[in-house]
Symmetry: C2
Amino acid sequence: MTDRRITPEPLTAEAFAPWGELLEATGEFRLINEGWCQRHNDRAKLDFGPEGRAGISVFSARPRSLPYEFRLIERHPEGSQAFIPMSEHGFLIIVSDGPEAKPRAFLSAPGQAINFHRGTWHGVLTPLQAPGLFAVVDRIGPTPNLEEFTYDQPFTVIAPES
Amino acid sequence: MTDRRITPEPLTAEAFAPWGELLEATGEFRLINEGWCQRHNDRAKLDFGPEGRAGISVFSARPRSLPYEFRLIERHPEGSQAFIPMSEHGFLIIVSDGPEAKPRAFLSAPGQAINFHRGTWHGVLTPLQAPGLFAVVDRIGPTPNLEEFTYDQPFTVIAPES
């Protein structure tokens, strides 16, 4: 891989489908609460493995900026992992098909959350604005659930052309 | 009950404890992602009953304003229900110890999410600002999971004194 620059793509359900789900208030819904609320039902493919259970944690991450250089990717073999921004900011999402592959990057829009399928290689949480606050729905369990891989050379996510 | 006005209280973990958990980035954490992120781990008591599983849905609710009049409360006998605001706005939370009790109300602060314990009587989702967008972690299952109760006379949540 000679070109180690990555241009982030807009986050869409279709483009992101190989790695997980886009969670947002679009498409089908059920009207609840006497008509005051739209329920977009059960949007994530959750999987907490044979020994795990669902948990909700709160992540507070320091914002990054573009260009963003990284070498580390990670995956959770025992469970899916959903990232729900607790602010109206998009964030940077990096995925990979594994150590041999060139990563891809997405920029989410405000109002979009994501769920990574169990075992998906991804970059660490990278908000681009404060507060960098996320609710995370992932596997709580008694056995290890983290694999990391460090590329020999860094990749750089560059700002998309405006 | 002659006084049907309810003054909302600030949302704190202690005050809310009988009905659920406050989910926020305070207290103990584990430093992850090479030091860039604080993980406040496993903050909610999730319970999806014998036949249910966890799901993530997206709720889009129309904002209300104070004073807010209501007669309806509801509960989910088969599962807990977490509300994670996808914006930096507090929202109105109404809980009750049941049809015979006077409800109580809380106002959350930006950066706060909540989880209702399985079976907790609560008001419907009441954001006070747009966009009224929430990720909801609750029970997905094959059997009914909603009980509603309508008070004969309305209660009114009034604005706290400033």
